[in-house]
Symmetry: C2
Subunit: 251 residues, 2 copies
DNA sequence: TAGTGGTCTAGACCACTTC
DNA sequence: AAGTGGTCTAGACCACTAG
């Protein structure tokens, strides 16, 4: 990558070390985003500049950037440039928030923090978040409102190590947490996996949501991962589905 | 597309009629699959052959095929060729069947047909499937088993017009319906949208699944669409989530 | 007008499969 | 050895944005 003829296809290394150039470029770009060289919302160098810096053709840089755009890690804007993706409400709404009204358009929920505390991680929390035993976690419980009515109660568990100081101050209500992770802690949530079950609400849960005990709800268990693939959040949401549903695209 | 210099960028048409060449190529390839020129599992002409037939460069054909591969409509195999995607169990499992065991690998369910009948579509069925009032539909009810135990009971509603003769004979148990649609009726399911809610099973539903009444379950409402975007199936599934969950990738 | 991403081309060579 | 898709390059031109 640092000589005009890159060493990718040197004889003797074709089998073992073969990695397409554009993948190497893509990985390096991700690495720079992880390191914070380019932060969310900032513009990347132009394709030409990246190409000449890396000693590859523009087409190779383009293919790398196309993949990052497909993963929603960058946003391309013709005539302006390529930007590191932000966790603004628009992105959250289309990528990470799957509860939508049965009729009408998706909307961002209001939020009310119920509690937040810091404590030692349980065995299960260590397992799910990939923590060493004894590590600390931060717990946040909150209710989220849709159309003015409580619709979701959720528990968010975070490794304290990568969110230093979180919870010492008040956590803002009505905040987009992934935006907070990005702006305050330099942590970019890149993808997540959810496991969904149907459950019956307990008396306490029902009270928090303002419905009678015995009401059914979706139990959504999410692990969110950063750019480098490490788990940065475990979130369990209980969602009422009387006026809303979980939207899933099978494409 | 039929002359060496395609008319895409003729002066005077740049604004109004502008459509990138590769999109035109992509749409034509889809159209040919819709028409059955190339059926599921069959190999397409090579990129070079398509390029010279259409009077474009290989790179343009490649970009069109790359998009189709990203949509799972074709499968590319280096050294062999590009094939129209099939609805084999592997594809169903990774693209259309989202209920997976809590521990262990995804598996394809057994199936038991409960009933099938043909009747006039209700107002709601016409709405969901885009049918004209008075059109006929075919109803199939079946129970699906995972690990030998009933886990899903579902109702499948199909426009009779595009599945002529279906239900006259016995519908095979244990069959992959999307494979059946493709091989017997030339209908390729290309994508689907699911709306998921949590519900309490009725006495009858609970009996069919072998659990006590009042049990919670996922209510999965799916509209499946063919290559041309028309709705070809409405499926409502009630899924037990005691040993399984709905898997959702937020990528 | 200058600079960016988007499209399209032509050609070279590599990796993989099949005969 | 021949044919396929996969990678990489170099260069031209178009569409869009901003100063």
């Amino acid at each position: 990558m640092n000589s005009p003829r890159p060493p990718v296809t040197e004889p003797g290394f074709q089998k073992l070390g073969f990695r397409p150039l554009y993948m190497q470029v893509r990985d390096m770009l991700v690495q720079r985003m992880v390191q914070g060289v380019w932060g969310p919302g900032q513009v990347l160098p132009s394709e030409q500049d990246l190409a000449s810096e890396l000693g590859v053709s523009q087409g190779t840089v383009r293919k790398a950037l196309d993949e990052l755009a497909a993963q929603n890690l960058v946003v391309r804007r013709q005539g302006r440039g390529t930007f590191v993706a932000e966790h603004d409400e628009a992105r959250i709404l289309f990528q990470f928030f799957k509860i939508v009204p049965d009729t009408g358009n998706p909307m961002f929920p209001e939020s009310r923090i119920l509690s937040s505390e810091r404590r030692e991680a349980s065995t299960e929390e260590c397992l799910r978040l990939g923590l060493v035993p004894g590590a600390d976690v931060i717990h946040v419980r909150r209710v989220r409102l849709l159309g003015g009515k409580p619709a979701i109660v959720e528990t968010v568990t975070l490794p304290a190590k990568i969110f230093p100081g979180l919870g010492d101050d008040e956590i803002p209500n009505n905040h987009n947490l992934y935006g907070l992770y990005a702006t305050e802690f330099g942590v970019t949530v890149a993808k997540a996996i959810e496991r969904i079950k149907a459950v019956i609400l307990t008396t306490e849960e029902a009270a928090e949501l303002g419905v009678e005990p015995g009401h059914p709800a979706l139990h959504v268990d999410r692990i969110a991962r950063a750019l480098d693939g490490s788990a940065v959040e475990w979130r369990v949401s209980l969602c009422l589905t009387d006026d809303h549903h979980y939207h899933s695209d099978l494409t």
